[in-house]
């Protein structure tokens, strides 16, 4: 695997849209060709080279390409957008839409990510050492097809509306979650929160699973306690209380049984 390193040499006045920072776009290109790729600052087009020094070289394919972003990345939006393979390592924090619509490969952010990270994610892995903003692994505005597959792992806390319209994949949160978790979720998505969640957990949820280790401040009144279960969840063995809901929402039948969203609260 070959590595391309991006070193910021100038900060944009506005946020910079860098959807071209992706192994798919870099693959098979020289440092000069990469520096010639476009970025958007508002509605103005610039070259990547205006804001970054590009070092190293890319692999022949996306899968053989690793990108390292050094320095301040807090004004970079759409890092790794729609990437299908390869790796991106961000040494600090990023702006919005990190790994949005990613389909494969891996992004590792050592700092925090802002809102809309992994929007509409279809596959791959997003690792965040810090905190994540609102709408992590959510659907694009208006869309009913949210996260389909893949894994997101956040060491810290996440903002509101995580897994909005989630259809599949896994989100694991080391810390706490703000309001609205897995709203409208349907299908087989799984969210594990090792800290606590505030409220509106699983609102209008049709299917999928939520595991919470540290309790919920305010439960939805439309969830019904079913039974206690012993489970191993991401390496932790414990007894969980199983709730099903959202009973105010329609629920399809699968093999004669009604499908509900499942909410597991650790004792």
């Amino acid at each position: 695997m070959q590595t391309v390193t991006l070193i910021p040499i100038a900060q944009p006045g506005l946020r910079l849209e860098v959807d071209n920072i992706s192994p798919d776009k870099f693959a098979g290109k020289t440092a000069e060709q990469i520096a010639a790729l476009h970025v958007y600052e508002g509605n103005t087009q610039h070259t990547m080279g205006k804001f970054f020094r590009v070092e190293g070289e890319s692999g022949a394919t996306a899968a053989d390409t690793r990108i390292v972003i050094k320095g301040d990345a807090t004004r970079l939006k759409y890092i790794g957008m729609r990437m299908t393979a390869g790796e991106i390592l961000v040494e600090n924090s990023t702006d919005m839409y990190t790994g949005a619509w990613m389909q494969g490969g891996k992004i590792h952010v050592k700092g925090n990510v802002d809102a809309f990270a992994a929007t509409g994610m279809k596959g791959g892995e997003l690792l965040i050492d810090g905190n994540a903003g609102n709408y992590l692994g959510a659907a694009y505005r208006g869309d009913w097809r949210g996260m389909q597959s893949g894994t997101i792992r956040v060491a810290g806390n996440v903002g509101s509306d995580m897994g909005y319209f989630m259809n599949g994949g896994t989100i694991i949160v080391g810390g706490n979650a703000d309001v609205h978790v897995a709203t409208h979720a349907e299908g087989n998505g799984k969210i594990i929160i090792k800290g606590s969640a505030k409220s509106k957990v699983g609102g209008q949820m049709v299917g999928g699973e939520i595991y919470i280790f540290g309790g919920v401040d305010v439960m939805m009144p439309t969830y019904v306690y079913r039974r206690d279960v012993d489970l191993e969840v991401d390496g932790t063995k414990a007894k969980f209380a199983l709730f099903e809901g959202d009973t105010a929402e329609r629920h399809p039948k699968r093999k004669g049984e009604v499908v509900y969203g499942k909410l597991y609260l650790k004792y």
């Binding site: 509605n43 694009y140 505005r141 208006g142 869309d143 009913w144 329609r250």
Partner: protein
């Protein structure tokens, strides 16, 4: 204005019975002419030349379309083109921006489009969007089929009063024709009910769809409007609804068109694909296209447009409020619903016509069967009820299916439930392939005649507006199906009223877009004027002054068609 001579193209013009002859077409001062002195010459050798096409039914402007745009931001995701040169930015697939709407129609060789349903209360909004749609001439059909005035007058069989009200409403909304959407049923939706048969009474008003449809045919012919009534019948989209459709079409029997615009039909039934279903439920859903097309073939005083299903993800929108509720209950996707006081209602729901779903496959077959069983292509027009059965940008794909049995066979094979689609329809047995002459009838001469606009559009006769499209398509050569689609997706040259819009495939001008509307003159009718005044005082949330579409702001470039219906 300059002169142009389009030389040596294969010309297709049903109005002059020209069927692919190699001919020249001359343009001078916005009109087609016999001869030009010093023209700019365009070599169209090996290409197809036709008049600019007309879309008789599309939802391209107004509150419904805008609700779709607002509540479907995902429709524009990864589907935007930035501003470039003289061209404005474009966006959207099933509910494109106004600029994309104008550009996309022009690229396919379309020069005139009719907005299919204008809620009178929101006519100002409709006209603002029409104004912002470049290139194409447009008109809009105000909806009448659930209007309180119409329901009250027709209950008492007051045709003259209905006509006077229509004349007033067409004038104040700058409307083009009389549109009916689920007559009576949309009003019944206000009570949570519907009218699924032409004999179902409308609550409170105690009138039936049958009475509304016949009354509006009579009022329309009393006025002698350019277009006939434009009808979206009852019971749309339900298995077994073809009997309702036949009952509806039969209502036109015995009526004769009375007008000075060369129109022969008294009823245009729109998107009839949605109305030609057999079966009793979705499981035994089947095509009844043959039954409906046979009736239309026999009955010379009705015309239809098809509403082809294009197998795309799209956005349905209609003034048929109860139907949109039915749809959201089926697919569980987001739903917008609105009531328009005294006049109509509307609903919007996204919909995916998936080739993996058997019903979508049969719907696709029904649309194509209607066209392929039709004998008179002057009375069977190409539409997708944009965006309801698919976006209008798919017309070239529909042409591919109509013009190539091979293309249809490929699609049938691609269906997941291929066998079931074939067994529930007749599409696989049809070997008819439409000719370019028939295509020109479906998309040019036919709609122009039915709209009463054959004195302006639809042909290449000297004296007509110089709307000319040149396609890079040699009719003497064999074509693969996809080459048909490609050729009709991008005209090589396009003129709109003599102005070059597209040259060598590139859009070079926003043209000189006009808004068409009809201004019927009737005898003074104090009773109707008093009723209008009364209803505005009693019920409307706006005053008459804030209702009328007036001034350059809404219609910078009007084209008024005057109709004298005074007795």
């Amino acid at each position: 204005m300059s002169e142009y001579l389009i030389k040596n193209g294969f010309v297709f013009d049903p109005t002059q019975k020209i069927n692919g002859d190699v001919k020249d077409v001359a343009i001078q001062d916005g009109k087609i002419v016999d001869k030009v002195a010093k023209p700019k010459v365009i070599d169209a050798k090996g290409m197809t030349v036709m008049a600019g096409a007309l879309d008789i039914h599309a939802h391209v402007a107004g509150p419904k379309v805008n609700i779709g745009r607002i509540f479907r931001p995902e429709d524009k995701l990864f589907n935007e083109t930035p501003r470039k040169g003289m061209m404005r930015s474009e966006g959207g697939f099933s509910i494109p921006t106004t600029y994309r709407t104008g550009y996309a129609y022009a690229r396919m060789g379309y020069t005139t489009v009719m907005e299919a349903a204008m809620p009178p209360l929101f006519a100002r909004h409709v006209h603002e969007e029409i104004r912002d749609t470049p290139i194409i001439d447009e008109g809009a059909y105000p909806v009448f089929g659930n209007n309180w005035f119409v329901l009250e007058y027709l209950k008492n069989r007051e045709i003259e009063n209905t006509a006077a009200y229509i004349a007033w409403l067409l004038r104040v909304t700058r409307g083009f024709a009389v549109k009916l959407v689920n007559p009576g049923g949309t009003e019944a939706w206000g009570w949570g009910l519907n009218c699924l048969q032409v004999t179902d009474p409308v609550p409170y008003f105690d009138i039936t769809p049958e009475e509304i449809i016949k009354g509006l045919i009579e009022a329309n012919e009393y006025l002698g409007l350019p277009h006939s009534i434009h009808l979206h019948g009852n019971n749309l989209g339900n298995p077994g609804n073809y009997t309702t459709t036949l009952d509806t079409l039969k209502l036109a029997e015995g009526y004769k068109a009375k007008n000075n615009f060369g129109r022969d039909v008294v009823m245009h039934h729109t998107h009839i694909q949605f109305h030609s279903y057999g079966g009793t439920k979705w499981a035994d859903f089947e095509s009844k296209a043959k039954e409906v097309a046979d009736y239309v073939n026999r009955q010379k005083n009705i015309s239809i447009d098809v509403g082809f299903v294009t197998l795309d993800e799209t956005t349905t929108m209609t003034a048929d409020g109860p139907f949109e509720h039915h749809l959201t209950e089926l697919n569980h996707l987001k739903w917008a619903n609105a009531d328009v006081e005294l006049e109509t209602a509307a609903g919007v729901v996204p919909y995916i016509y998936s080739p993996d779903i058997f019903v979508s496959g049969v719907q696709w077959a029904v649309g194509l069967e209607i066209a392929l069983f039709s004998k008179d292509m002057m009375r069977c027009h190409l539409t997708t009820d944009h965006p309801n059965a698919g976006p209008f940008t798919r017309y070239p794909r529909v042409l591919k299916w109509l013009m190539s049995q091979k293309a249809r066979d490929e699609q049938i094979k691609a269906f997941k439930a291929s066998d079931k689609v074939v067994s529930q329809s007749q599409i696989a047995e049809i070997d008819r392939e439409l000719t370019l002459f028939e295509v020109a009838q479906m998309t040019r001469a036919g709609p122009a005649k039915v709209l009463g606009l054959s004195h302006m559009y639809g042909g290449l006769k000297p004296g007509l507006d110089a709307d000319v499209a040149v396609y890079d398509f040699n009719p003497e050569k064999e074509h693969k199906p996809d080459e048909i689609e490609k050729a009709f997706s991008h005209v090589k040259f396009l003129w709109k009223t003599g102005t070059p819009i597209i040259t060598d495939g590139e859009i070079i001008s926003h043209g000189n877009k006009r808004t068409l509307w009809v201004n019927p003159k009737v005898n003074e009718n104090p009773q109707v004027m008093r009723d209008i005044h009364d209803k505005f005082l009693k019920f409307y949330t706006v005053t008459e002054k804030n209702y009328e579409v007036t001034g350059k702001h809404f219609i910078p470039n009007p084209f008024v068609i005057e109709v004298d219906a005074t007795r």
